[in-house]
Symmetry: C2
Subunit: 331 residues, 2 copies
């Protein structure tokens, strides 16, 4: 590997001069010297050793993202949004899949800190006490899943969420407005805030229209396809249901499959609304009505906020994004 020092020797200048030229701080460097250096750099295919640079500069221009699973479309979109925004700002992204586990999350936080990332973007595990994983000094953005953070938080923490309550309220109201009378919910369980809020929004909408909230119209498990499938099978065992709010689109996919197996058709027998608007939702049969989360924007905002935190800029450390009802053919 050719080093800056070697370039310097070849050009008969000092490494300071080469450094200046390479980094464009060459106001006071003569054109001749600059050209000589640049030519050698080019010819030798010199590449800066970013590690040495980082050690000196005390930054790495890399951030870590910890999400449950890139294979989950919601998170792959998020990861993409983050990576795109990061790249534009000159940052590089280390990807970590926590599998929703506190233990893995902790381990990755430690690894990322050892790698001296400039910041971390973190979607906490569904069931997680933030105090148990707090990333000390590293600037961190909490994404998508709200979590209780002590107010006298010493570290630099930003938070970006979606208004889940309002979103599920919209979803349920939409079902109601389409004439559904018996609306069930399939979602994640009550151990995480977003899920709690989505259940809340669902109940609020029902109550506001004078319906009673019926606990045997709830199937609360996890944010995945199986939950949707099992939820429908279990909910529809003995009771009638004409509307279904799914806590996310993955659940809706499973629900759709189960409904098909039960020979129930959507939307005539049962209307369905999902949550997230993953890329695939429009290609389901029928295309899914859903509550769109501005995932890509979340990624962008997260990077924006994180970089502000890194640079010690004063910013609003809580952003709550609104959702949007996307009406397709499942309602």
């Amino acid at each position: 590997m050719i080093t800056l020092k070697e370039i310097a020797k070849m050009a008969n200048v000092s490494s300071a001069t080469v450094s200046k030229v390479i980094n464009g701080k060459d106001k006071y460097i003569s054109d001749a010297t600059r050209k000589k250096i640049l030519d050698i750099v080019e010819k030798e295919g010199y590449i800066t050793n970013g590690i040495a640079k980082s050690l000196k500069m005390k930054n790495t221009k890399t951030i870590g993202i910890i999400i449950p699973d890139v294979m989950n479309l919601f998170f792959s979109e998020l990861a993409r949004g983050i990576e795109d925004a990061a790249e534009k700002k000159g940052y590089t992204v280390i990807l970590c899949n926590s599998e929703n586990k506190v233990s893995k999350t902790k381990k990755y936080i430690e690894i990322l800190q050892e790698k001296m990332v400039d910041g971390i973007i973190l979607t906490p595990p569904e069931k997680c006490d933030f105090n148990s994983i707090r990333p000390g000094r590293t600037p961190t953005i909490l994404l998508d899943r709200d979590v209780d953070v002590e107010t006298n938080e010493p570290s630099k923490i930003g938070r970006i969420f979606v208004n889940n309550t309002a979103g599920s309220y919209k979803a349920t109201s939409h079902l109601l407005s389409k004439g559904c009378k018996e609306i069930a919910i399939i979602s994640s369980d009550t151990q995480n805030k977003p899920s709690l809020e989505r259940i809340q929004g669902y109940e609020n909408a029902l109550r506001d229209k004078g319906y009673v909230v019926n606990s045997d119209r709830k199937y609360l498990e996890s944010y995945n396809i199986e939950t949707g499938y099992n939820g429908v099978k279990s909910l529809l065992m003995d009771k009638r249901i004409d509307g279904l709010f799914c806590g996310n689109d993955l659940i809706a996919i499973g629900a759709l499959k189960a409904l098909r197996e039960l020979n129930l058709s959507v939307p005539s027998d049962v209307k369905i609304v999902g949550f997230d608007d993953i890329l695939l939702s429009r290609y389901l049969d029928p295309p899914l009505t859903t509550i769109k989360q501005p995932v890509y924007v979340m990624g962008e905002k997260a990077i924006e906020m994180l970089i502000a935190l890194i640079n010690d800029e004063q910013i609003d450390d809580l952003i709550i994004l609104e959702t949007l009802l996307i009406e397709r053919d499942s309602t």
Copy 2:
């Protein structure tokens, strides 16, 4: 940030001693000293500065992966497989989305080299001359898309692919065995090897059974949902088709949607086989028959091979994986 040197001072020992203890090279360190050091490390929450360590050790224990798009389910599975395997081996993964562009691929390779990654796993852009992006000295695994590499390759390059020809041969034969007489193909265009091979397998299967290959039964565009959708609309405009081989599952998803709009039912009117077996395929309506690529295994093998390359071990630098026909309800 507390450094190793500071720990040493607090413990009244040299930094060498602390280093040895921290890295478990403490055979000759007294229990008392070890304990004293470990206690301070614990109490102070010391975290190794991996950058300094990397500079000294000349490795970063991180690898870069460059894929077209994590939002593409095939690649998110791949990324997951790679990350899982990497994590087990103590490596961390930098994620880069090339958008299938040579320019972005090049840029990322350079960035990764500056970050001194120990290796790169690369899925080249669909239309790409490898010589234009060759990552010089960094050990690299070429994944999923074969590419012409000069034989007197100086750098350390490994290649892992799937037997595309055999896979699409299987797919087409399956369609034939199900009684299809007029089988079309929708796939990516002929500018990349895997696509070429999949077309080849399709044609071979047809010819082997005495059918003629008909160029108006081909719609070759790109590996995405739109291609599937447009392909069906275009292919079925004026001619009958009872079997459809899709170059990947994304294409099949688009095709399914278009078929639904044309009131054609699958599998009774048209039978469909996809390629990849992304996680979602079994949840489509109908669940998709497809050629399973061992994506997760590819990720694992890639890491295995890359680490061997990194450690200068002698290995087989070309692995071709076989596919598997997964029969579901679309045929």
